[in-house]
């Protein structure tokens, strides 16, 4: 019996690999195939007859394409760099130092995720709009000089707001790896008279390289496909990036039918880019063994004392909170209390009304949309957390077949803009009608499971690469059964990361727009599509009121999650 154990384990790995390939194939390959086929159909509809290469040539021979790509890259690089810097600094302060009120700040720094990016964009146009922006108006009044001093409708404005929007995600991705760094090496270096900067560069940074690379990769690709903020801030000043170009092809085509063929062709660009990035990521992953932080030998982590630096640290976190939550929330609240969109001014206080908020509670559609949103977010977050853990465990801890393919497939949906994923899923579930999800909330859950799996699996990979397998090996050598290893070793170590992934997906699923808007039917309206409907039909104040209640829901969810994670003994995030 003992001799057959490796064979049994091998068979188990083959079965697990096969099951994962099947699930990922269904979630990812099928929609991708639909996109590829769409690129070669006369009108971009996969089931229509005929073949054409016109969409591919139109998309790639467009003289504006180089400018479009360079603008998109500048935006994505800028926003992801800002987000990673902010996320890393926050993770360090909140997970590795003795900064006061860390529990409060941990809850506070993820709150911006509750704000739909569309509303964040609107809020910042009220704060930094050239003519009505409250900062510009104040500066003009103080200096007597007619502004604008700061113009949000610019590439730097887009980068600033998108960087702020992505920062909580970067923090969540980096919090667990930063928190997992043992302090023994730091202390040894300190005893060797190494300064803080040198210790950071020589110890922490190399240890964090895989996690930072994973985070940067995810933020960069998120910046490539993000739509809301480029649409709100970029379009008015004609700063077009790939996502708004795709939106234009879908919504403003001269022929009145979306140019799905051209959009399908453009997805080749994303897929090509993604293959390159994943190859880079896997290369980094292969070197990750050099950066293992938690081994079986006396790992411990004690907080870094900030001493006099604690005041600037607290000031930084407060500033971050002001920029990402307080100021936009105040602008949003102001908008939600007005009958129509207007600048922030004491002159308009007489107009304030709670009618938009009362309308939210009196609207049966809003209540059902709230329930749908919570159901979708809950299901999608749970599905992604479980699937991401299984993918990361299989890729990092098994010797089963197809590990690279599974890793690639788990990352591939990053390359599919939400609007395209929506279109592809419509075709998939119209064709495979044995699974009656079309027009229900389940089709949105499936869209989110695919869309957010890359974020989950990258985050899990980042943590997994920091954990040396010798912990599990030692447990197995001591006779622990695989289930006991999973329960006593892997789960406690992975729980913080899994919960972070869960929260991240939950928050993003609550506010995501592009896939639900494509999949919207009468019975699956969610808060984001309701909000979009109000915004699009000229009711931004009602949209703002919905946004306020979205934030309230997420705040409650975050508090509940914090309490649950304390009881569960989760150490981080």
């Amino acid at each position: 019996m003992k001799a057959s154990a490796p064979a049994t384990r091998r068979a188990g790995e083959w079965a697990a690999g096969g099951a994962l390939l099947l699930v990922l194939g269904y979630l990812v390959v099928l929609p991708l195939l639909i996109l590829v086929v769409a690129a070669f159909r006369p009108h971009g509809f996969p089931f229509e007859p005929g073949v054409t290469f016109a969409h591919v040539t139109n998309a790639f021979l467009d003289p504006g394409l180089p400018r479009l790509i360079s603008g998109t890259l500048t935006f994505a690089i800028g926003a992801s760099a800002l987000a990673v810097m902010l996320g890393l600094l926050l993770a360090f302060l909140l997970e590795r130092t003795d900064m006061p009120w860390r529990g409060v700040w941990r809850a506070a720094v993820v709150l911006p995720m509750a704000m739909p990016p569309m509303l964040l964009g609107i809020a910042w146009t009220l704060l930094l709009g050239p003519r009505i922006g409250v900062f510009n108006v104040m500066l003009s009044e103080w200096t007597g000089v007619r502004g604008p001093f700061l113009n949000i409708y610019s590439l730097s404005g887009m980068i600033f707001v998108e960087g702020l929007a992505l920062a909580p995600s970067a923090y969540l991705m980096l919090a667990a790896p930063v928190g997992n760094i043992g302090s023994a090496m730091q202390e040894a270096a300190a005893m060797s008279a190494a300064g803080p900067l040198r210790r950071w560069l020589k110890i922490d940074l190399p240890l964090l390289t895989p996690a930072i690379a994973a985070c940067a990769l995810v933020m960069f690709v998120a910046g490539l496909v993000v739509f809301d903020i480029p649409a709100i801030i970029g379009v008015p000043s004609k700063i077009i990036v790939l996502s708004t170009h795709i939106y234009g092809l879908a919504h403003n085509p001269p022929e009145s039918l979306p140019r799905y063929g051209e959009i399908g062709a453009l997805s080749f660009l994303f897929i090509g880019l993604l293959v390159g990035l994943v190859a880079l990521y896997q290369r980094l992953g292969a070197r990750a063994q050099r950066y293992v932080a938690i081994t079986g030998r006396g790992w411990r982590s004690s907080p870094v004392p900030l001493r006099a630096w604690k005041y600037p640290a607290v000031a930084f976190v407060i500033l971050y909170f002001l920029l990402t939550v307080a100021a936009p929330f105040a602008a949003l609240l102001w908008t939600s209390l007005l009958p129509y969109q207007a600048r922030i001014s004491p002159d308009l206080i007489g107009l304030l009304t709670v009618s938009n908020h009362l309308a939210f509670f009196g609207n049966a559609r809003a209540i059902s949309a709230t329930i749908h949103s919570l159901e979708v977010a809950l299901l999608a977050a749970s599905a992604v957390a479980v699937l991401a853990f299984l993918v990361a465990a299989y890729v990092n801890r098994s010797r089963g077949p197809g590990r690279r393919i599974i890793d690639l497939l788990a990352a591939a949906p990053l390359a599919i803009p939400g609007v395209m994923m929506g279109m592809a899923l419509i075709f998939v579930y119209l064709t495979f009608d044995w699974l009656p999800v079309y027009g229900t909330i389940w089709i949105i859950v499936l869209a989110f499971a695919a869309e957010y799996l890359p974020f989950g699996s990258r985050a899990m990979n980042g943590v997994m690469s920091q954990l040396h397998p010798e912990l599990e090996e030692a447990a197995r050598m001591s006779g622990a059964a695989p289930s006991r290893v999973l329960r006593k070793i892997l789960l406690p170590l992975f729980l913080p990361a899994a919960m972070a992934v869960w929260l991240w997906v939950f928050a993003h699923a609550l506010r995501a727009l592009s896939a639900p808007v494509m999949l919207q039917g009468r019975d699956n309206i969610v808060l984001s599509t309701l909000l979009w409907g109000y915004w699009n039909s000229g009711e931004p104040t009602i949209a703002a009121a919905i946004g306020i209640w979205l934030i309230v829901i997420l705040t409650l969810a975050t508090i509940g999650w914090r309490l649950a994670s304390r009881r569960g003994g989760a150490a981080h995030v």
Partner: protein, 340 residues
């Protein structure tokens, strides 16, 4: 009172404003009553349209009062081309699709070409023949393009097209990123004049908007002083007291919206009944109350009053190709705008 009696009374009420004889009304009423009887035995008809769900509900509630046995479900799908794409996708896959579709002229043309619109003798149900296109599509509403301006920022009320080019408003003008208004205007002005105008408008460094609704809100907020907006999108902030007003243009470009029965409809009688009601004076007024847009071809609508006496311009449904060609050229011009 029998059900049929109620249906007939609803039908007569529906037709009461028609300029036809009593006998004519009786004939139409019988046709509608018969349609309503058939509709009563059908599944609920699905209506694809781009208004918000609550606006759709308002319309459906009024229809249900008139015809309680005929059931219609409103499905809100963003954008007319989103609606057309959904109908095309579902039809190609052989899945259940809309019974009733309401979209713009361009989308209607595309769906006509794809044979996705069912022929229907709407005139037999008392609809004004001038509303009906080729026994298939019925005129339901229009987007009328106009100037929307902030009364605080613009001291002298704009008079027309030239005000959008006034140098004093450079950087303070807004326009819909979709150049539909100017593409429609090209029918009256010709391509060269419209292109020259658009070049001058782009030189004004306008702010672009994804729809005319946020454009009107930005004018209300004072971020821009004035813009090329639309009548129905400017009304919501105006009704709520925003310091904005609208100025009709000469000529006024318009984009029509049509309703029709989808060729794959599973509840065709309900669909035909609903469209007959929606495009009747009674139904269209309800639709306009809910969405702020109605058809100027029905005198009872506010849109008709706004458009009355205005020289309007629009490419007709059977000749949308020039519109699409000019639209494409304008898209390219916008794409080449250099960002400072």
């Amino acid at each position: 009172m029998t059900d049929f009696g109620m249906t007939r009374r609803s039908a007569l009420a529906l037709l009461s404003t028609l300029p036809v004889s009593f006998i004519g009304r009786e004939v139409f009423a019988q046709a509608i009553a018969s349609l309503a009887e058939r509709a009563a035995s059908e599944d609920p008809a699905v209506w694809y349209e781009s208004s918000r769900p609550d606006q759709g509900d308002q319309v459906i509630a009024a229809f249900a009062k008139a015809f309680p046995k005929a059931k219609v479900r409103h499905e809100s799908i963003p954008g007319g081309n989103g609606v057309a794409a959904r109908v095309t996708q579902e039809s190609m896959a052989g899945a259940r699709t809309a019974d009733i579709v309401t979209v713009g002229g361009g989308e209607t043309t595309q769906l006509l070409k794809a044979n996705l619109i069912a022929p229907q003798d709407f005139e037999a149900y008392g609809l004004d023949p001038k509303l009906v296109f080729s026994k298939r599509a019925v005129h339901t509403a229009v987007t009328v393009y106009c100037i929307v301006y902030n009364k605080t920022l613009v001291k002298k009320k704009p008079a027309g097209w030239d005000d959008l080019l006034d140098p004093q408003y450079k950087g303070e003008v807004g326009t819909w990123v979709r150049a539909a208004a100017l593409a429609e205007l090209s029918r009256a002005w010709g391509e060269d004049k419209v292109m020259a105008y658009y070049n001058k408008l782009l030189a004004q460094e306008p702010m672009f908007f994804n729809s005319a609704a946020p454009l009107a809100q930005s004018v209300a907020a004072g971020e821009i002083a004035l813009g090329l907006g639309s009548y129905h999108n400017s009304l919501p902030p105006m009704k709520k007291g925003a310091p904005i007003d609208i100025v009709p243009l000469d000529p006024s470009p318009m984009s029509s919206v049509f309703s029709f029965v989808a060729s794959k409809a599973r509840s065709p009688a309900t669909a035909a009944l609903f469209i007959s009601w929606l495009c009747s004076p009674a139904g269209n007024v309800v639709y306009e109350e809910a969405t702020d847009r109605g058809t100027p071809l029905i005198a009872a609508t506010k849109t008709a009053k706004f458009v009355a006496g205005l020289p309007t311009t629009e490419w007709p449904l059977d000749n949308k190709e020039p519109y699409a060609a000019i639209f494409e050229k304008m898209n390219r011009m916008v794409a080449n705008v250099t960002v400072k």
